[in-house]
């Protein structure tokens, strides 16, 4: 079984503090959906509203089309995997996993059998008789997932379950989680402040900032066509230049900045282009879209710059440049193809990109550096 989750005009307030502001999201059944946002933006709060630990101050939570108002967490078809896992340390691994069955009055033999099946699923066979504190971090992680699955939820909620793991294990668990989700086929709602995680695993990502949903889209769209300045600056690296829109034609705009005239895509929101001539705008250009401009090849956007610093990062070079009349350091990255960057520190260079790779957005709140 699987179910869709719908948040309709949800507001959550703690006193005068608004932790969620007018959230409208429809999560399809069987999809892997992520909430991505900086710490304290209200991700856990939203998840608790879905799992039933708190009631929204306003608006509705629907699971499988049913309004969840007044239904407690033990009655909802959801299972939550906590930020700190919350395994039961006094129980054996298999007892942890079988706990949802135990409280339903399932007999011991049946419980044990189901626990063993789930241990098989999470690739931890024969570990059922260990105590929880005898497991490694990644194993605990998987036990928490198995325990949640034992409850046979329609929706599995995961609150940054990988945040405590080291990088290697985290990458491994990402693929594992995705595989488990495809095997069991239930809706996963996943919370993270790690964009890599969100982009690699999810069918859809909701980017949040200060209780507001900034954009809901698949990973590619989030990365290539961010709809707000916050999404553009929060997801991935980005350089930005502020200026004034001089012309808006079709889906492109021309923005005059102190560093030069830049053209970029006028990203639509709710079906409407966001910028018109005369607006203040921010032009975002990703480091990997920027190139050194050598005489012959023509680029839409060209900027004059001085090489300030170069960093070798293995598979690519990171070059930091000082652009004329731009207060911030601009970064450019190029694939390491065996040759050097080709420019010394202090060299006067020209950099640029095509208009299709530049994104123009209304001025708005930016992610903290």
């Amino acid at each position: 079984m699987s179910a869709d989750v719908k948040l309709e005009d949800v507001w959550i307030r703690f006193g005068s503090f608004e932790a969620a502001k007018d959230v409208n999201i429809h999560i399809q059944e069987g999809e892997f959906f992520s909430f991505l946002g900086p710490s304290g933006c209200g991700k856990t709060t939203l998840l608790r509203a879905v799992s039933g630990f708190l009631e929204p101050s306003e608006g509705k939570v629907l699971i499988g089309g049913q309004d969840m108002a007044g239904i407690g967490p033990n009655k909802r078809p959801t299972a939550l995997i906590f930020q700190n896992l919350a395994l039961f340390p006094l129980m054996k691994v298999w007892e942890n996993i079988a706990f949802p069955l135990e409280v339903r009055g399932v007999g011991k033999a049946e419980r044990r059998k189901r626990a063993d099946e789930l241990l098989e699923l999470i690739a931890l066979p024969d570990q059922g008789d260990k105590m929880v504190n005898e497991l490694s971090g990644g194993q605990k992680q998987r036990v928490a997932i198995a325990r949640a699955l034992a409850a046979e939820p329609d929706v599995l909620l995961l609150d940054e379950p990988l945040s405590a793991l080291d990088l290697k294990l985290r990458q491994h668990m990402r693929t594992e989680l995705r595989a488990i989700q495809q095997r069991v086929g239930i809706t996963f709602i996943y919370i993270t402040h790690d964009q890599g995680e969100a982009l690699t695993m999810s069918d859809h990502v909701a980017v949040m900032s200060q209780g507001v949903i900034e954009q809901v889209a698949d990973g590619n769209t989030i990365y290539d066509s961010p709809q707000t300045a916050f999404v553009a600056s929060f997801v991935g690296e980005n350089n930005h230049f502020q200026g004034k829109v001089t012309a808006a034609d079709g889906d492109m705009v021309t923005v005059e900045t102190p560093s030069g005239v830049l053209r970029g895509r006028n990203i639509e929101r709710d079906g409407k282009p966001q910028l018109a001539a005369g607006d203040q705008a921010l032009v975002f250009i990703r480091p990997e879209s920027l190139r050194f401009v050598d005489g012959e090849k023509k680029r839409d956007n060209v900027l004059e710059a001085t090489v300030e610093r170069q960093e070798f990062e293995g598979n690519f070079w990171q070059v930091f440049l000082q652009v004329k009349d731009c207060p911030r350091v601009v970064s450019l990255s190029m694939v390491n193809d065996g040759s050097s960057v080709g420019h010394d520190v202090g060299a006067q260079v020209k950099i640029g990109c095509d208009a299709a790779h530049a994104v123009a957005l209304p001025v708005g709140q930016m992610a903290a550096e």
């Binding site: 033990n74 919350a86 325990r147």
Partner: protein, 460 residues
């Protein structure tokens, strides 16, 4: 260098002094339990004996009190532990702002003097009893009920503190996880919170029991006609104590130490297991699948062996040759007193001789003068002599009647009797002789009585 040594010396001195201060009274008391002297004391040491344990086991009043104390203790555990747990859980539920107030209120019984709690319990339930028109033998006037209720008022606060400190380490996410996985609130409490609190429940129960067991201030009011160990002890102190009280104390100390040692062994073992679990998790070590049986624990076996050996030795040494030793001590005392008496008599004789000589001289002088009645001689040794002579040969003291020798309170004969009595007093039961301890008549009677008793004992 030298200052360092001086400092070390002072630290050592202080530590020794501190431990002496802590354990000195306990050690002295422990020793008195094994001294055959009738009064709890270490010096002079007479005979090593375990007879006080025997006396203790025959003291029905004390044993009844002990039994009642146990019953009340268990009652308090059953009542105060759930109450404390409820109070502690409540603390986690009330709102942040109310919490300090709530805490202050529920903790306040600890700050109220026990006497006040006792009196108010008594008055309160009396009022309730009157309200219901209950009879005097109803629950509201039952010493057990009132004592359990009265003690629990403050003991529940103790247990609550134990639970609070444990609950502070509880990860409430576990509760939420259980709920989220479909458990009801009751199931969550039973399967998650209660197992977590188990160690705290055990400590709270022990604490509650001990606090109840040793309580006097409240109990003395609420017990009414029921006697507990503490009230019996208190009345004993008023009417005269013997070393069986020390024997009781030694028993309690030994049991406590034994219990603590066993607890420690189990705790160490648990810690070792936890450490092992950590190592297993880290992949350092293979998990030992064989679970050790608790009775195979070497430390536990050691403790039990030492305990049994100590018990055996004490009883062997305490019963072997005690009678001989006591007879010897008595004999020695008698000899000593005899010697003292003889010395005194000799001195008296010498004085008398000197007086007689002087008298003789005076008489000679007087006879030379006109013979008048000799009134002055009323206090002369001549008069005293027949009296001393009268008492000295009266060996079977019991034959002597009541008050006749009241004036001879400091007579050597009496001293002798007293020493004899002191030695025999333990055989006597009860408290009857403390208020009258300085009554010579009593002393004599009792000594005669105990003499008879000891004679009977040796005859058996």
């Amino acid at each position: 260098m030298t200052s360092d040594r001086i400092r070390k010396f002072f630290v050592l001195f202080f530590v020794c002094g501190f431990f002496l201060y802590l354990f000195g009274p306990l050690i002295i008391m422990g020793l008195t339990a094994f001294n055959s002297s009738a009064f709890p004391r270490v010096a002079p040491w007479e005979c090593f004996t375990v007879e006080w344990f025997d006396v203790l086991s025959n003291d029905t009043r004390l044993l009844t009190g002990l039994r009642n104390s146990f019953l009340i203790g268990f009652g308090v555990v059953l009542f105060a532990v759930p109450l404390g747990l409820a109070g502690a859980l409540m603390l986690t539920q009330v709102r942040e702002r109310v919490r300090p107030w709530y805490y202050t209120i529920v903790i306040s019984p600890i700050l109220v003097p026990g006497v006040v709690l006792g009196i108010s319990t008594l008055l309160f339930w009396d009022r309730i009893g009157v309200m219901f028109g209950a009879s005097r033998d109803s629950l509201f006037y039952n010493g057990f009920f009132l004592t359990i209720i009265g003690q629990s008022t403050f003991i529940a606060a103790y247990t609550m503190l134990v639970f609070i400190s444990r609950l502070q380490r509880f990860d409430s996410a576990q509760e939420e996880a259980a709920l989220d996985l479909g458990a009801t609130h009751v199931q969550t409490f039973r399967k998650i919170l209660l197992p977590f609190l188990k160690p705290a429940i055990a400590s709270a129960a022990v604490l509650a029991f001990l606090a109840s067991f040793e309580n006097y201030n409240t109990t003395v009011f609420t017990a009414i006609s029921t006697s507990t160990l503490t009230t019996v002890l208190a009345s004993k102190v008023r009417y005269g104590i013997d070393p069986s009280i020390s024997a009781l104390a030694v028993s309690i100390v030994v049991l406590t130490v034994l219990g603590a040692a066993i607890h420690e062994v189990f705790k160490r073992r648990e810690e070792a297991e936890a450490r092992q679990a950590g190592l297993v998790a880290a992949g350092v070590m293979e998990r030992k699948s064989t679970q050790k049986q608790w009775f195979l624990e070497p430390a536990l076996i050691m403790i039990l062996l030492v305990f049994i050996a100590g018990l055996g030795t004490a009883f062997f040494a305490g019963t072997m040759g005690v009678e001989e030793c006591k007879v010897a001590v008595r004999e020695q005392k008698r000899i000593e007193t005899q010697k003292r008496i003889e010395e005194l008599q000799q001195r008296q004789q010498a004085e008398r001789a000197a007086q007689q000589a002087a008298e003789e001289a005076r008489r000679v002088e007087r006879s030379q003068r006109t013979g008048t009645e000799n009134f002055n001689s009323i206090f002369s040794s001549d008069n005293l002599q027949p009296q001393a002579g009268d008492t000295a040969p009266a060996t079977p003291q019991s034959e002597r009647a009541g008050t006749e020798n009241f004036n001879s309170i400091f007579d050597t004969q009496n001293l002798q009797q007293q020493s004899g009595q002191q030695e025999e007093a333990p055989a006597r039961t009860g408290t009857e002789n403390f208020n009258s301890i300085f009554d010579t008549q009593n002393l004599q009677q009792q000594s005669g009585q105990s003499e008879g008793q000891s004679g009977g004992q040796s005859g058996q």
